[in-house]
Symmetry: C2
C-alpha cells in the first residue's frame, strides 16, 4: 500500500496550556473541533526539563484515545504564563512556574522530544485569540479579552489579528486605576490587579480576618480541602452573602469597570470578552454587573462595546495554543476538495 498523498492526511493540532498547577492538553481537528482533552499536574520540582517531560506526557495522553502518536500531530502550540519570544520559542520569564528562572528554549526542547514543530505563545494572548476565532468573539473584528483570575491578564484582537506590540501587549491588569493606591504583586501601586486579582483579594481577606472582620471564606476553603481561596470558594461565599466576600468583589468590579472602560476609551473595540478562572466561574451574572460598573467611565456611553462571557471555558488556553500551529496546518482554511 502506498503512502496517502499529503493533502489527504488528517491535519490535527496539539495544544498545551501550561499553568502553575496544571497542564491542559487538547487535540484540535481542521474545523477547530476538540477531538480529545487531557489534564495533568505541573511538576513542582525539576524545573524546565521536568516541565518539558510533563508536556510531552500530556500530549501522549491526549493523542492516545485517537489512536495517534504525538509525532503524527501536524503541529503543537504551547501557551505559557509569562513573557515569551514567539519567534525563537523562548519562555523569557515565568514567575508562576515552579523552578523557572531566566530564559529557556521551551519550543525547541519539546520539538526535539516529539519530532513535531512547536510554537510558543503567552497563555492569555492565545486564549483570547481562541475566543476571537472559535468562541464568544467570533462576530467581531476587534476585541479586548480580560482574563480575571489570580491575576488580571488581557489580550487584544485588532482587525482580526492578535496585537502583541513588542511582545507584551495586553497587560490590562497593570492599568493604574488609583494612582498611589493599593500595593500590587508586581511591586507597583494602584494597578487594577491590586484590587481585582484573586491573589490580591485573598491577601486583603486574610488581613481583614486578622483584624477580626467576620467572614466564613476561610472556613469554606478548609471544607473544600483547599489551601487558597479558589474561584469556587469565592462563588460559594457570594451565594451565601458573606459580607467580606461581597465587599471585596464589589470593589474588584468597580475597579474592573474603570480599567476596562479606560481601555475601551483608548481602543474603541467592538467587544470585550471576560474569561479567566474567576471570570468564567462567576459567570454571566457578574458579566452583567461589570457592564454596569463600566458604564460611568465610558467616553461614548451610548455606544458601549458588546460584553460577553468567554465561550470556550477552561479550554480556551489549550485551544488557542493549538491555533498557534495553524500556519503549518492551514486549519480552518476553506476545503480544496471539489
Amino acid at each position: 500500500m502506498t503512502q496517502k498523498p499529503k493533502e489527504d492526511r488528517k491535519r490535527v493540532l496539539g495544544g498545551l496550556d501550561l499553568g502553575g498547577t496544571k497542564i491542559q492538553a487538547v487535540v484540535l481537528d481542521e474545523h477547530g473541533t476538540v477531538l480529545s482533552q487531557a489534564r495533568r499536574a505541573t511538576p513542582q520540582e525539576g524545573g524546565p526539563p521536568a516541565i518539558v517531560e510533563a508536556l510531552a506526557a500530556a500530549l501522549e495522553e491526549v493523542t492516545k484515545p485517537l489512536q495517534l502518536e504525538s509525532s503524527e500531530l501536524t503541529g503543537v502550540g504551547v501557551g505559557a504564563p509569562g513573557a515569551v519570544n514567539a519567534a525563537t520559542g523562548t519562555l523569557l520569564q515565568a514567575g508562576n512556574l515552579p523552578g523557572w528562572s531566566g530564559p529557556y528554549p521551551l519550543a525547541e526542547a519539546l520539538a526535539k522530544k516529539i519530532s513535531v514543530p512547536v510554537y510558543l505563545g503567552n497563555d492569555v494572548q492565545v486564549a483570547v485569540a481562541a475566543e476571537a476565532r472559535l468562541g464568544a468573539g467570533r462576530p467581531y473584528r476587534s476585541l479586548l479579552g480580560v482574563w480575571w483570575g489570580t491575576g488580571v491578564g488581557g489580550g487584544i484582537i485588532l482587525d482580526g489579528q492578535r496585537w502583541m506590540g513588542r511582545g507584551a501587549a495586553g497587560e490590562i491588569g497593570h492599568t493604574v486605576v488609583r494612582r498611589g493606591g493599593a500595593r500590587c504583586s508586581c511591586g507597583r501601586r494602584g494597578c487594577l490587579e491590586a484590587y481585582a486579582g484573586r491573589g490580591a483579594m485573598e491577601r486583603k481577606a486574610r488581613k481583614a480576618l486578622e483584624r477580626g472582620e467576620k467572614t466564613r471564606l476561610f472556613d469554606w476553603m478548609t471544607e473544600q480541602g483547599k489551601d487558597r481561596l479558589t474561584s469556587g470558594v469565592w462563588l460559594k461565599a457570594l451565594k451565601q452573602g458573606d459580607p467580606l466576600a461581597v465587599k471585596l468583589i464589589e470593589r474588584a468590579l468597580r475597579m474592573l469597570g474603570a480599567g476596562i472602560a479606560s481601555a475601551v476609551n483608548l481602543l474603541d473595540v467592538e467587544a470585550v470578552v471576560i474569561g479567566g478562572g474567576l471570570g468564567t466561574r462567576l459567570g454571566q451574572l457578574y458579566v452583567e454587573r461589570l457592564r454596569v460598573a463600566m458604564k460611568p467611565h465610558l467616553f461614548v456611553p451610548q455606544r458601549p462595546p458588546d460584553l460577553h462571557l468567554a465561550g470556550l471555558g477552561e479550554l480556551s488556553g489549550a485551544i488557542g495554543a493549538a491555533l498557534l500551529a495553524e500556519p503549518v496546518a492551514e486549519i480552518l482554511a476553506p476545503s480544496t476538495e471539489p
Copy 2:
C-alpha cells in the same frame, strides 16, 4: 497648447486644522513638504455655514502665494475637533466649535464650494498620523500620540496605520487614573484630563486663588492680554517658580505618567510622541520629566518606549489633515519616472 497629461500635473494637497479659535491651513507637495501656510480666526457666529465659508477662505489665502486656485488642489483634508464619521465626511459633534450642534456634512459642503474632493478626520488622530509619517514618529511602526492642551487627546498608530476603532479610538484623556477622583469636563470622575488638561488646571487655579493661595498666574494672563491661562502663561509661571503653577503641573505630570504608562502596558507600542499646545510649549524638559513620571508604572520598566516631543509643531494638525487626501494624490509614493 494642449493640456498636460495628468501624471505630469503637480499634485498638491490642502490641509485645514479646524480649532475652536483658529483655522490653520497648509499646502503640501508630493514629498510632504509644506509649500505655504496661513491662519485665520474661526468665526464665532453663524454656525456651520460660516465655518465652511472660513475654511474656503483659508484655502484661498494659503494657495494664493503659490499662484494656485483652491480648485487646482488635488484634494483637501479637514481635521476637526470631535467625533467624525470619516466615511460620510460628517462631523457628528463638536463641543468646542461655536454654534455647532448635531451632525453636519462638513466635507460635502466644503467640496461643493471648492470643487475638490474633501476628506474629514479627527484633529488629534490626523495630527498623530502626521507625526508618524513625517515627524518624530517616522522611525516607528507603532506609537501612541498624546496631545496635551486644553484637553488631553490621543491617537494610535499600529503597524504603520491609524487605529481608529469604531471611530473614537485614542481617548487617553478619559483613562481613569483615580477612580472617584476629580470631576472632569466630560461629566465623569477621575479622568486623566481632569488633572492634566489645561482647562481643568485653570479651573483648579481659579479656585485656589479664591481660597487665597498665592499665585501670579492671573497677573501674567492679564499682562499678556489674555482671558485664559494659555500655554505661554503656564510656561512663564513655571520659569518664575510660581508655587501654585508648579504644584498643578507636577500633579498633571504624575497623572500623565500613570495614564500614559497604563496605555503602554496595554499596547506595548515602540514610541510615545507628546504634542498639543501645552506639550509643545513646555518642550523637551517636560518630556524628560514625563519619562520619569511614567517609569514607576511601566510593567516592563527595563524596556520603556521611546519618548519624543512632536516634530511638526503647531502644523501637525493641518499636515495630518492634508494627508487624509493622500489616496487621491498618491503623495509620497515612489516616483514613476524613469
